[in-house]
C-alpha cells in the first residue's frame, strides 16, 4: 500500500464529532447530473450516493473535471442550463429538495446551506461594500430585521472571523484573498447555515493563509455546529481537517471512508495514484509519481469501470462490468473489482 507518510502523520485524532454512526444531515441517493452539449450528453455526476453526517467535515477529492464542483452545486440545486439534475434524491434534514419549490430553495440557500467559492477575487460584488453584502444577506431572509440590527450582527460576525470592524465599510477590492474568503464564510454564517459547501476555498490562497483558513473552518465547525463539505484537489488540506474523505473519478464516487482509513488503508487504485502524486518533502526520491493517461471523456465514458484504461491492476472484468460500491471495511467502501471479485464469484 503506497501511502503518503506526511498527510497521515498530521491527521487529527478522531474527535467527538467524528461520528461513527452520526445523524445524517444530507442524504444523496443516485444523484445524476447531465450537461447537454453539442458533442452529446456529458454525465458530470453519475449515480452518486453519499450520506453527509451532522457535524462532520467531509472532504471530496478528485482530479479537475471529475464532477466535484458539479456535485457541490447540485446539493444547492444551483445547476444552470445546459446542465440539469436528471435523477436521484436529495434529502436535506429529511426534506426532499428535488420536490422543493424555487421559493423554498431560495429560503434554504444562505439560511441553511451556505457556499464558499474557489475564487475569492470574483465571488463578491465589486460595487457593493462588505457591510452591504452581509446586511443584504440577512435582510433577504429576515425582512423584519432593522438596518441597525443587521449591521450589528454583521459586525459581530466579522469580528469573530478576525477582521477589524472598521474594515467593514470597505469594498471587496480593498480586501486580500484570505479576508474575502472569510467574508464568504461570514455570508454563510450570517443566517446560521448549518451546512457549508466549500468549493475549493483555498485554491487561490497562499499556504500560510490556507492553513489559517482551514484552522478557522475547524474552529467554526465546533463553535457553530457546522457540517462542511470540503471540495478540493488539495489532498493535504483534506488530510488535515476532514473526518471522512470521498474520492471521485469521472463523475463516480470511487472510495469513501474515514480520513485515516482512506489515507492509511487506501483501497481504490485511483485513490492510491492520487496520493502518490502528492509531492512528499520527507522523501528524497525526486521522481514524482505521475498517473498514466488522463480522465476519460464523459460523453463516451469507457465501459465497465471508468478507471480501467489507466488502472495498473485492470482485469478483464473491469473492461466490461461496472463494479458496485461496496463496503470493504467497517467504515470504508470502494467501487473496485479488486475488492468485490470474491462477492462477484459467489
Amino acid at each position: 500500500m503506497a501511502s503518503i507518510e506526511n498527510p497521515v502523520a498530521e491527521l487529527p485524532p478522531p474527535s467527538a464529532s467524528d461520528l461513527a454512526h452520526g445523524e445524517v444531515l444530507y442524504s444523496i441517493r443516485d444523484l445524476t447530473v447531465d450537461y447537454a452539449t453539442r458533442a452529446g450528453t456529458v454525465g458530470a455526476v453519475d449515480r452518486v450516493s453519499l450520506d453527509i453526517r451532522k457535524g462532520e467535515i467531509i472532504g471530496l477529492v478528485g482530479e479537475s473535471g471529475c464532477g466535484k464542483s458539479t456535485l457541490g452545486k447540485a446539493l444547492m440545486r444551483m445547476i444552470t442550463p445546459p446542465g440539469h439534475i436528471s435523477g436521484g434524491e436529495l434529502l436535506f434534514a429529511g426534506e426532499d429538495l428535488m420536490l422543493a419549490s424555487d421559493r423554498r430553495m431560495r429560503q434554504l440557500r444562505g439560511a441553511r446551506i451556505g457556499m464558499v467559492f474557489q475564487d475569492p477575487m470574483t465571488s463578491l460584488n465589486p460595487l457593493a461594500r462588505i457591510i452591504d453584502h452581509l446586511t443584504e444577506t440577512i435582510q433577504t431572509h429576515e425582512s423584519t430585521v432593522s438596518d441597525a440590527a443587521a449591521r450589528d450582527r454583521a459586525e459581530q460576525l466579522v469580528a469573530r472571523l478576525g477582521i477589524r470592524i472598521e474594515r467593514i465599510d470597505d469594498y471587496p477590492h480593498q480586501f486580500s484573498g484570505g479576508m474575502r474568503q472569510r467574508i464568504m464564510i461570514a455570508l454563510a454564517l450570517a443566517l446560521r447555515a448549518d451546512f457549508v459547501i466549500a468549493d475549493e476555498p483555498t485554491t487561490a490562497l497562499d499556504v500560510i493563509v490556507e492553513a489559517q483558513f482551514l484552522d478557522l473552518l475547524l474552529e467554526l465547525r465546533d463553535e457553530f455546529d457546522l457540517t462542511i463539505l470540503l471540495i478540493t484537489h488539495n489532498i493535504g488540506a483534506v488530510a488535515e481537517i476532514s473526518d471522512r474523505v470521498a474520492v471521485m473519478y469521472a463523475g463516480k464516487l470511487v472510495e469513501l471512508g474515514p480520513a485515516n482509513a482512506v489515507f492509511g488503508e487506501t483501497k481504490h487504485p485511483y485513490s492510491q495514484g492520487l496520493l502518490q502524486s502528492v509531492p512528499n518533502i520527507d522523501v528524497d526520491d525526486v521522481d514524482l509519481y505521475q498517473m498514466a493517461g488522463s480522465p476519460p471523456s464523459l460523453v463516451h465514458p469507457p465501459p465497465g469501470c471508468r478507471f480501467h484504461p489507466r488502472c495498473p491492476a485492470a482485469m478483464d472484468i473491469c473492461r466490461t462490468e461496472e463494479p458496485a460500491f461496496l463496503k470493504v471495511a467497517p467504515e470504508q467502501a470502494t467501487a473496485c473489482w479488486l475488492y468485490s471479485k470474491g462477492r462477484y464469484d459467489e
Partner: protein, 425 residues
C-alpha cells in the same frame, strides 16, 4: 536602488504604476480633477470637449440670452457676408454744392434727388428726410424737408444727373459709389444717411437669403438639436437597457428572438430607416425623436446584453444565488450596477449620433416646418447659395460637426477616466 524603483520588472503581474495606485484611492471627482496629471498630454482632450459640451448645453437651454435677433424675423439686409458692414446709403453732392447734409435741405422747397431703381436708397432718403423734419419740429421749427425723388436704371445715370445739375444730390450705397468715385472727380460723399445702428459686429456670421441673422438661427438651432439628441438617446436608453438586461439574463428563446429583431434593426442603414419611420408617422418633431430612438435601441440592447451575459457568469452572481437572492434582486443589485458604466459612455456618443441624424432628417425636409431655426434646415436652405454665399452652409455644418465631435470626444475621455485600464500604454 533608485533605478530598481524607477524601472520595476515589467513581468511582475501585480505591479501597478504609481498613478494607478493613486487612482485606486480616490473618488470619481478627484479622478477627473487629477486627469491632467494622470493622462499626461491627453488631459486637454477631455477638458476641451467637456467645455464645448457644457457651452453647447448652456446655449441650448437659454438661447434667448445669447441670440441677438429673432431667428424668424427679417432683421437685416439679405445675404450679408460675415463681418461685412450692411451697405450704407450715402448722400452724394457735387464738390461746390451749397448743401452739406440732408438737414440743409430743410428749406421748404422740393429738392430733386437722384436714386437707382429697386434699391433701398429712396427709402433711406425718405427716412432721413422724415427724421430731420421731426427733429426740427421738436426744436420748434416748422421747416420741412421735401424731396423730389428721380429714379434711374443704373448708378452711372444717377451720378451723371447729379454732375449735370438736374438733381441736387444723389443717394446710393457706399460700396457702389466706391467703385465709381474715380470716374466722377467732381462728386463727393457727404456721409451716411441711413439711420444705421448696425456696425461691423451686427451680423458676425452674416445673414441669409431672407435677411435672418445666421448666428441667431444657429443659437436657436442648438435648442432643437439638444431636444432631438437627448430625447432620442434617453428613449432608446430607457427601452434598450431593460431589454438587453432581460434578454441577457433570461437567455434561451426569449434572447434569440429579441436578438434577431434587434439585429435586423441594427443591420438596416440608419438614416434610411429613420426616413421610412418619419415618412410613415408623418412629419413632427416628436416623430423625428421616435424614429431616431428606434434607430439606437439596438446599440444599447447589444451592449447591455453582452455585458449581462458575461456578468451573470461572474462568481459573485452565483454567490448571490447561493445566499438565496431572487432573480429580480440579482438583476437590479448585482448585474445592473456592473453593466451601467459602459452604457453611460455610449450615451454620450449616442447623443452626438442622434443630433447628426436629426440634422440629416431635417436637411431632407422631413419633420420640421421649413422656417424652424434648425441646423439641418439651414443647411438645406443654404445649399442653393453654395456658390455665392458660403456662410449659409458653412456655419450650420461647423456647428453640427463641433457638437458631434465634442460629445464623442467627451465620451471617449470618460471611458479613460472610468476605466483607465483601457488606455494604451
Amino acid at each position: 536602488m533608485a533605478t530598481t524603483l524607477e524601472n520595476p520588472p515589467p513581468e511582475s503581474p501585480v505591479h501597478l504604476e504609481e498613478w494607478e495606485q493613486e487612482l485606486q484611492k480616490v473618488g470619481l471627482v478627484r479622478r477627473i480633477l487629477r486627469a491632467r496629471r494622470w493622462y499626461g498630454t491627453d488631459w486637454w482632450f477631455v477638458t476641451i470637449s467637456t467645455a464645448m459640451v457644457v457651452a453647447f448645453l448652456v446655449i441650448a437651454i437659454a438661447p434667448q440670452f445669447f441670440a441677438k435677433y429673432d431667428p424668424l424675423g427679417q432683421v437685416g439686409p439679405r445675404l450679408l457676408a460675415p463681418g461685412e458692414l450692411p451697405a450704407q446709403e450715402i448722400l452724394i453732392l457735387p464738390e461746390d454744392s451749397q448743401y452739406n447734409s440732408v438737414a440743409d435741405f430743410a428749406t421748404g422747397e422740393r429738392i430733386p434727388i437722384a436714386v437707382q431703381r429697386e434699391t433701398p436708397s429712396s427709402e433711406a432718403a425718405r427716412d432721413e428726410a422724415d427724421r430731420v423734419t421731426e427733429e426740427n419740429a421738436a426744436a420748434g421749427s416748422d421747416e420741412r424737408v421735401r424731396l423730389q425723388i428721380q429714379r434711374f436704371e443704373t448708378p452711372g445715370e444717377v451720378l451723371d444727373t447729379v454732375v449735370a445739375g438736374d438733381a441736387v444730390a444723389g443717394v446710393m450705397s457706399s460700396s457702389v459709389f466706391k467703385g465709381l468715385a474715380d470716374q466722377y472727380p467732381t462728386l463727393q460723399s457727404a456721409g451716411a444717411i441711413s439711420s444705421a445702428e448696425q456696425d461691423a459686429t451686427s451680423f458676425p456670421l452674416g445673414t441669409n437669403q431672407v435677411g435672418q441673422d445666421v448666428l441667431s438661427r444657429l443659437i436657436w438651432g442648438a435648442r432643437i438639436a439638444i431636444i432631438i439628441g437627448f430625447s432620442a438617446a434617453i428613449i432608446s436608453f430607457v427601452i434598450g437597457v431593460p431589454l438587453g438586461l432581460l434578454a441577457g439574463f433570461a437567455g434561451g428563446k426569449t434572447d434569440r428572438l429579441m436578438t434577431l429583431i434587434m439585429d435586423s434593426i441594427y443591420a438596416f442603414p440608419g438614416l434610411i430607416l429613420a426616413i421610412a419611420i418619419t415618412a410613415v408617422l408623418g412629419p413632427s418633431i416628436f416623430n423625428i425623436i421616435v424614429a431616431i430612438a428606434v434607430l439606437y435601441i439596438p446599440t444599447y440592447y447589444r451592449i447591455v446584453r453582452g455585458q449581462t451575459l458575461s456578468a451573470k457568469e461572474e462568481l459573485y452572481v452565483e454567490a448571490a444565488r447561493s445566499i438565496g437572492a431572487k432573480s429580480r434582486e440579482i438583476l437590479s443589485r448585482y448585474i445592473f450596477p456592473n453593466v451601467i458604466p459602459s452604457v453611460a459612455i455610449i450615451f454620450s456618443v449616442n447623443v452626438a449620433d442622434a443630433i447628426l441624424t436629426g440634422a440629416g432628417l431635417s436637411f431632407l425636409g422631413l419633420g420640421l416646418p421649413p422656417s424652424t431655426p434648425d441646423w439641418g434646415i439651414d443647411l438645406a436652405r443654404g445649399q442653393e447659395f453654395i456658390r455665392s454665399a458660403w456662410w449659409l452652409i458653412t456655419f450650420p455644418g461647423l456647428a453640427v460637426m463641433l457638437v458631434v465631435l465634442a460629445f464623442t470626444m467627451m465620451g471617449e475621455g470618460l471611458v479613460e477616466i472610468f476605466n483607465p485600464k483601457l488606455r494604451e500604454r
